[in-house]
Symmetry: C2
Subunit: 333 residues, 2 copies
Amino acid sequence: MNIYDVSEKANVSIATVSRVINGNPNVSEKTRKRVLEVMDELGYTPNVFARSLGLNTMKTIGIMCADSSDPWLASAIYYLEQELDSHGYGSILCCSGYLPETKKKYLELLRSKRVDAIILAGSHYVEAAARDNEYLLEAAKEIPIMLVNGHLEGHQIYSTVCDDSGAVCSAATDLIKSGHQSILYLYAGNSYSSIQKMEGYKKALSIAGLPFREEMTLLCPKDPDDTQQLIEHAADSGLVFDAVLAAEDIMAVGAVKYANKHGIKIPQDLSIIGYNNSILCRCTNPEITSVDNKVEALCTTTVNTLMKVLANGNVPTKATISAELIKRGTTNF
Amino acid sequence: MNIYDVSEKANVSIATVSRVINGNPNVSEKTRKRVLEVMDELGYTPNVFARSLGLNTMKTIGIMCADSSDPWLASAIYYLEQELDSHGYGSILCCSGYLPETKKKYLELLRSKRVDAIILAGSHYVEAAARDNEYLLEAAKEIPIMLVNGHLEGHQIYSTVCDDSGAVCSAATDLIKSGHQSILYLYAGNSYSSIQKMEGYKKALSIAGLPFREEMTLLCPKDPDDTQQLIEHAADSGLVFDAVLAAEDIMAVGAVKYANKHGIKIPQDLSIIGYNNSILCRCTNPEITSVDNKVEALCTTTVNTLMKVLANGNVPTKATISAELIKRGTTNF
DNA sequence: TTGTAGGCGTTATCAC
DNA sequence: GTGATAACGCCTACAA
């Protein structure tokens, strides 16, 4: 079943059939109708492989993420897929893991599939060391690279980021203004957004004239119980704090568990703010105040930018979106 | 940059280059080496479009799910993608939503992309009414359809399911044996697995000689607060229960919130069991006892079955995996 | 062991 | 408005 079968049955040339398929106006209404009927009758669908070969594009975008089961990334994937689909693009998904080598390997894999562009979802793709980002610059020589919540300068590299720094700074400032002096900061690593967030924390302290103390920052695993233990250990060692600001909701959950376990009253004796505004915030008692970093907006903006890029439009290489604090029971403002 | 460029530079025919690419043994070691060197030097990658056209396959599997941001589906996608990748297959992702029309549309979309098979992740694809499954049977005439936690009989349709019925029955029986007489059952809808679970609940009651009472089952939305309110309303209306068995963790979270709000002691006055063993179970206080329905095993089994199918092996059309109860603080056994 | 040539199903460029 | 025909890049009989 191919274009020849259709052309034969409709008594036209394959060129005409092709025109009908592609909506070329140079076909008489009569012919078009006949061809469409035959196509329908035969249940004909154009072969995408042949079409891709000729056009050298599959109208497909590669989406990379470290781990699609991470809640934030999972919803990012959802919004990206939906938005791409609405623009007539398909998506091929790769979970690259967090290691540089595997990231590189999967990027190559996607490139070998000749996707039209690659979207890197999440802030795990831009490393602190410039040489570790070389592979991205390299790939961007060939196809557009879109970063969702990561930032890197380079030809054909476009970033859409949330103002994580500003959001954390603002959240910390809210805590300080409502009377908190010692904010324990829980962070997850040193990805692009982790660094931004940490800077926001430092900035808020600096604005308020409070000193930044290394021991008030805790590198936490992405697990509520492990986080709880870490906090417990810090407190046992004499660390005093009246608020917890977490770079990820899951760590804020750990803080809530810590407080509940030790009979510390939330928010009277301990205020807690999470980040991402995920469903986890609504599972604890009390529910967690959290920064909504606008996954959906990040994703739709990314796709819209990409569409402009693919249409050879001129587009800014960096777009920034503002976060929003969602107030719940772990804070008293 | 194509096979001709390589052949020219290596002073061999394109046939030889092709043989080298495809690991055909009929090439002298010397030639192979030279060709590989040239390929490397030129940075040559075979064009997948041309290859796909000739072979009529892209070594790509379509993955459909209702909503990739659902935690269970998100991890299913993760495991499917990883397992497919390890077998040298790529994955095209589609989020179809929950409506029959859109499911159908996306299935067609995937088919038009000529994927080698389609994996339907989650139990939302098999409807109660036979005629609503017609589109699956139709598609299965052309390519293999794999159901992850759904079951449908048909040519080229393969199912891998968790024994949801047995798991719920066993959990309910545990509750009954530990002294509970009135188990409130929270369910999510009437998908394949929802029906299985409900049957498990009924079976446990029947085995214990307890009556099944319609009013002891609550159809809940996938939201902890809405679920909590629903339970509250039922209790206000005079419904009495000493245990809650939920078909999804998120509803169990709602039950915990209900108990916490009303000062009901868990598990002394109310036992709660969830389903999926997701991260949500570890966010509440106390943590929720939950049924682990083995997403990873379901996914790897599905992919392994698929690989056999694609290799024309003879494989059973249905595989069943057992669930496991993970005991935590919301039960006293 | 290696090379030649035909086919995979489109799209696009010419003529007419 | 329509039709022939040459790409697109690869694989694979079949020949040598």
